[in-house]
């Protein structure tokens, strides 16, 4: 009975349609007095209300419905003669669906005080779209959800309602929609080539369609050079918006790569580059939410390498790492959101000493930092090692070394820098203004994420059981792995202490750090403006020159008839007239002869 009800609805739609109900339910008291990014009240008790209950129920119902669908369940329909498969349940889609629901639930709890219906609606619909995407069995359904994630999530930026957010949101939307357009174009080429719309393993075999789809996935997965939308947009969303956004779009792209391009060799160097280059930026970036965005990009690199290696262990590693990553990255963004709420800024240059006022947030941040750094007993440790082992198994030595370097670097910027500059270092001037801990619902959301980070690390068996392939007797815990990983992390910590003592650690400075987006934010507009100005100036000059010439000609023509001018202003002398008449006659004669010859 329950199964048949569950089977009648594609996963994700509960969240999307449920979100659309939100505005219809009478809202709680509108924010009066101080609020930030729609969060109200800023402290004290808050009523859950009907909307809050619905928001909490949606991800729980969605998760239950999803798990009622048996593996292998599909829904096939025919639309205008095209065979579509809006639902396909298998182990790969189910693990992503599971973590997306959990992320949605945590985000909802974190956002329970948000009295801005726009944010809550778009957040839930966005999660629903991402869930729908991972259960899509065909490329057209995937495209629809793919675009829907863009259209829903942009409101989490625009909800900030500032000039900056308007601009950032527009840039974000353009890039995201571009990805969708490429996906659609690729799908059409693929259909023309194969006659099928099924979303299964594609390959970079020279088919233009597959390359376009690869590029579309690459944009959302934040491949190097296609990445800067992420670092541009995520830190500019609302406090809760960034938490929503950190979970879905990029991991949906990782899922799509794992489904469509598993074992594509090219992904290995791409992923390795992704793990390495963002950490250099993370070291010098001042906005701590932007540091986390760079670190997110770096973590995606591990998953991309896993997909590229493509063995069962590697795909398991990519899926497991996505699962763990969503939890600890969400947790870190939640802690920085709490800091932004209380201190009004997440600039490292303005923060410090917040542990005195926000001890719980500090604790949760440290847990998230240890999880992302892959400390033993934390989630990152049991998932990242699968990818490194798989890369080494296949003999990708340089990739292995880069991943190892990036692991040390992650601890350096995410594990140490974030907690250190936000909560410790030197007491911030803002400290007296900070009223206290984050609101209770935010602490609960952080606590759940922190608990899961530790639970997965201590007892990974349930996660391993969900992975796409049988894990066999793989275990991350043995003395070699624990000792080597601890050494790597401690070496990284020692480097931090050493650099601080030597005064070599770059100070946190208020600044903008240029990235690839400089090309389309400065170079291209500047270049176009300069070209336009040059053309405009040139045209002005030409116009002026032509105008002057015409004016001079007209003047001269006028002067020719003035009395006293030798042209036409007075009678010509008879001899001169006779000479010109003779010249005209001779010319006429010559032309007549030439004309008759030609005729």
């Amino acid at each position: 009975m329950l199964e048949s009800i569950a089977a009648s609805l594609p996963p994700g739609l509960i969240l999307i349609f449920g979100a659309l109900l939100l505005p219809l339910i009478p809202g709680e008291s509108a924010p009066t007095g101080e609020s930030a990014d729609g969060i109200w009240p800023l402290s004290g008790k808050s009523k859950l209300g009907m909307r809050g209950i619905l928001m909490l129920l949606l991800p729980i119902l969605g998760l239950a419905q999803m798990w009622l669908l048996p593996l292998g369940h599909t829904v096939d329909v025919e639309v205008f003669g095209y065979a579509l498969q809006p639902v396909r349940v298998d182990r790969l889609s189910r693990i992503f669906g599971t973590i997306f629901h959990i992320a949605a639930l945590i985000s909802v709890i974190y956002a329970l005080r948000v009295r801005d219906t726009l944010q809550n609606l778009s957040g839930l619909a966005y999660a629903g779209a991402a869930i729908g995407a991972v259960f899509s069995g065909d490329l057209i359904t995937l495209f629809v959800y793919w675009e829907l994630t863009a259209l829903t999530s942009v409101f989490l930026i625009w909800a900030k309602r500032t000039n900056r957010a308007t601009r950032v949101g527009m840039r974000y939307l353009i890039v995201q929609v571009l990805s969708g357009v490429l996906l659609l174009a690729g799908t059409l080429f693929h259909y023309a080539d194969t006659g099928s719309l099924a979303f299964d393993l594609l390959s970079l075999d020279g088919s233009l369609g597959h390359w376009l789809i690869f590029l579309a996935f690459g944009i959302k997965a934040a491949f190097p050079m296609l990445h800067s939308w992420l670092e541009d947009a995520y830190p500019e969303a609302t406090i809760t918006g960034t938490v929503w956004m950190s979970a879905f779009t990029t991991k949906m792209a990782i899922y799509a790569l794992a489904r469509g391009f598993a074992g594509t060799e090219m992904l290995i160097p791409i992923g390795a580059a992704m793990t390495a280059f963002p950490i250099f930026y993370a070291v010098i970036e001042n906005d701590l939410r932007r540091v986390l965005a760079y670190s997110l990009n770096n973590q995606l690199g591990y998953m991309v390498v896993g997909v590229g290696v493509g063995t069962e262990l590697a795909i398991n590693g990519a899926a497991a790492h996505a699962f763990a990553h969503i939890l600890y990255k969400g947790l870190l963004f939640m802690t920085m959101g709490a800091v932004l709420l209380r201190a009004g800024t997440v600039n490292g240059s303005d923060l410090g000493g917040l542990w005195r006022k926000m001890p719980w947030t500090t604790t949760f941040c440290v847990i998230g930092a240890m999880a992302i750094s892959a400390f033993p007993l934390f989630s990152g440790f049991v998932t990242k090692s699968m990818i490194l082992t798989a890369a080494a198994d296949e003999g990708h030595t340089w990739t292995f070394l880069i991943l190892l370097f990036a692991s040390a670097g992650v601890f350096h910027h995410s594990g140490i820098k974030i907690p250190y500059f936000a909560f410790f270092a030197h007491d911030s001037k803002l400290l007296p203004k900070i009223t206290g801990e984050a609101p209770r619902n935010m602490l609960v959301a952080m606590a759940i994420a922190a608990f899961l980070c530790i639970a997965v690390g201590v007892y990974p068996a349930p996660l391993y059981a969900m992975l796409p392939y049988d894990v066999g007797d793989y275990s991350a815990y043995d003395l070699t792995h624990v000792v080597t990983q601890m050494q790597l992390l401690l070496g990284s910590a020692a480097a931090f202490v050493f650099l601080q003592k030597m005064g070599w650690y770059p100070a946190e400075l208020r600044s903008t750090v240029l990235d690839v987006d400089w090309v389309y934010r400065k170079l291209l507009p500047g270049g176009l403006r300069a070209t336009y100005n040059a053309i405009d100036k040139g045209a002005e000059k030409t116009k002026a020159a032509v105008g002057r010439a015409v004016l001079a000609g007209v003047n001269r023509f006028g002067q020719m008839f003035r009395p006293g001018d030798r042209s036409f202003g007075e009678p010509w002398p008879s001899g001169e007239t006779a000479m010109w008449a003779a010249v005209v006659l001779v010319a006429y004669l010559v032309l007549s002869i030439v004309g008759s010859q030609a005729g």
Binding site: F280, Y281, G353, A392, A408, Y505
Partner: protein, 165 residues
Amino acid sequence: MSEHEHGPPSVSAGGVKRVLWVLYAVVAIFIAIDVVWFGPDWVSNLGQETHHEEPGHEEAAHSEPEDQGGPEEFWPDEKVAHEGDEAHPVGHMANPNTEEHGFGGHKHGHYAFEKLPIFHALYGFAGCVLLVLAARVLRMVVMRDEDYYGDDAPLDEAQTEEGHA
């Protein structure tokens, strides 16, 4: 950290010292495990690996083990990697041959360099120092004013008019 922009250190000097001592102690523990527990196996392996590859030089291997650690042996070596594969087809598993060496355990890995004592500590340290120094150079190239892009500026008239329309 530009101290002039901030107040006093958030944690007292004594607190910082205590944290650092804990850090040093933990570093020492994990280095000690590596050297004391895995060290004997590594030393004996040097001889064994040489034994497999060059049986004729067995004596030399035992008398001058450090000579056998030529750069190519520590360098990424697929042959070594696959040797590791056969012993541990899936991930890191206990090595059944540990008892052979008497005291200590076998440090496994895909590459010879992974088995070097305290390789990971040195790699982590050196990697992060280079990372930060390189980032400082990068900053010289890419750092601009906070309002470089002017994103906070009011949307221009044309945009506003379109918005109203």
